[in-house]
């Protein structure tokens, strides 16, 4: 089933065109990687998919309805976003932060129910943060904060996960765990779109990829067929070499 669809989407920042006439659909169970150079519009596209920006032209459709016309709360029940960075000007604990993820599922006057508490606990456990509930966010490292943000996203329990450079600040083990988690979530029928900087991560952990070449050109397809030496060299404007062996393929610069 289609989770999210873009129809003839044009994106621009200032007078710079980022993408022209993007027709794209994300199905349940798919994991997409967005690849492109700095400033190609990856984050702008991700924020447009989440309904945080209005596109220059075209539409984003969420489960068949125009995203722009849906209430923010409805959108937040279905789409979650892991931003590149999080800010914490005021003190908060890990538990308070993760519990915020339940917000779109609650009415203004109601508090969190037992099931909301349980969902937040499970999210904390899945990100390996059990026992850290009462720690202040300000005392955590960058990678630890990233895992708290991910736990908040899991507590939100959306159908579509939008992840902006999800591996930022994470050590190798937690990067691997993140991708395993996304794989199992997609097998439950959810979708994921991840902005990545490493085509090898895309090849290994995504099913599909969207390449943003800048100046509006784009390409979509399955990772196995789309990610070729020639395309990636063009995408990054830098020579890449493909090496295969032992049933694995890697790109090196």
């Amino acid at each position: 089933m289609t989770l999210l669809e873009t129809q003839r989407l044009d994106l621009a920042v200032g007078d710079r065109t980022l993408c022209n006439g993007l027709d794209w659909s994300i199905q349940q169970g798919e994991r997409w990687a967005i690849l492109g150079t700095n400033g190609a519009g990856k984050t702008t596209l991700l924020h447009t998919l989440a309904g945080l920006r209005t596109p220059l032209r075209g539409h984003v459709m969420l489960k068949g309805e125009p995203l722009a016309q849906l209430p923010r709360r409805t959108v937040a029940q279905l789409i979650g976003l892991l931003p590149q960075d999080s800010i914490d000007p005021f003190p908060a604990t890990v538990w308070e932060t993760v519990l915020m993820g339940r917000h779109p599922h609650l009415n203004p006057w109601s508090g969190e129910s037992d099931s909301d508490i349980q969902i937040a606990r499970d999210a904390i456990a899945r990100c390996g943060l059990t026992g850290w509930e009462e720690r202040a966010i300000a005392t955590l490292s960058g990678g630890e904060r990233r895992r708290v943000a991910l736990a908040t996203l899991l507590a939100q329990d959306p159908a579509l996960f939008l992840l902006d450079e999800p591996t930022n600040h994470l050590d190798l083990r937690h990067q691997a765990e993140l991708f395993t988690l996304m794989k199992s979530l997609s097998e439950e029928g959810r979708g994921a779109v991840m902005v990545l900087h490493d085509p090898n991560q895309a090849l290994r952990h995504a099913t599909h990829a969207l390449l943003l070449y800048g100046e509006g050109r784009w390409e979509t397809g399955e990772c196995n067929s789309l990610l070729t030496e020639e395309r990636l060299t063009r995408l990054y404007d830098h020579p890449l070499q493909r090496i295969s062996g032992n049933g694995q393929t890697v790109f090196i610069t």
Partner: protein, 323 residues
Amino acid sequence: MRPLPMLILLTVIALAALLSALAFGSLNLELGAVLKSLAGRGDPLTDCVLFDLRLPRALAAFAVGALLALAGVQMQVLLGNPLAEPYVLGVSGGAAVGALLAILLGVAPWLQSSAALLGAFGSMALVFGLARGSGVWSPTRLLLTGVVLATGWGALISFLLAVAPETQIRGMIFWLMGDLASADHPWPALLVLVAALLLTLPLARSLNLLARGELQASVLGVDVAPLRFKLFLIASLMIATAVTVGGSIAFIGLVVPHLLRLLGARDHRLLLPASALCGGALLLIADTLARTLIAPQQLPVGVLTALLGVPLFLLLLQRSERS
């Protein structure tokens, strides 16, 4: 501290502060006599001191303190800045210019209040109109506009003080430092306080999110622009009311929210009511001291809020860093 014990403790402190405000003054009353009067069985002299003088002023002090603390929380979230306080956007500056002009012209006290209110609303409309500009409405733009406007009001205030005759300067300075001596009509402030609490409590969880930035709040389903507009309106109304009743009372709006956060009230569902109680109690205590410390002379209460609040806050900050 857990939510319920904290609210209960703050309520007890507020009630104790209210009782002491009623008992102490240039004429000290027995607690028993105060309670008797409140129950409707007091002697005429106590009744007179209590119901005509002390109770209206005590209630006004509580309401103003609560309004300032509540507005402080909202301003900090609205501007995404822990250093924000009720006066940062120039509402109190506008009120001060209105009030000082009225004092200078020697008009009746009720007209002074009206002038202060007019100045507050004028300033609020000006900040909002200018910050909105081309339709983009960011906290940074709001903050910059407000700060610049507040500086402008400050210059006007200095000008008014410079041209005022000696005899009026004392009254003007008391107004600027915050003074509850003429606060004898508590009901408008109490009414605004109740209305503001009822309007903001359903927004408390959204405030938790907005405190984590616009992006995080929108991602989790908060309509940020309407929420900010509501916050701005409610906070401005509260500040205008507080300043009209008590002048620019310092410190409560900045420090009470942080004080409570240090005590563990980070969730706005607790922080909002706790701030109202704590701000009200703190101003009530400060005002009682202002009336009694060098009685029969009265001090401007704004001096005492800072003298009380600064050490209290620094002590808590020290303790929280150690733990």
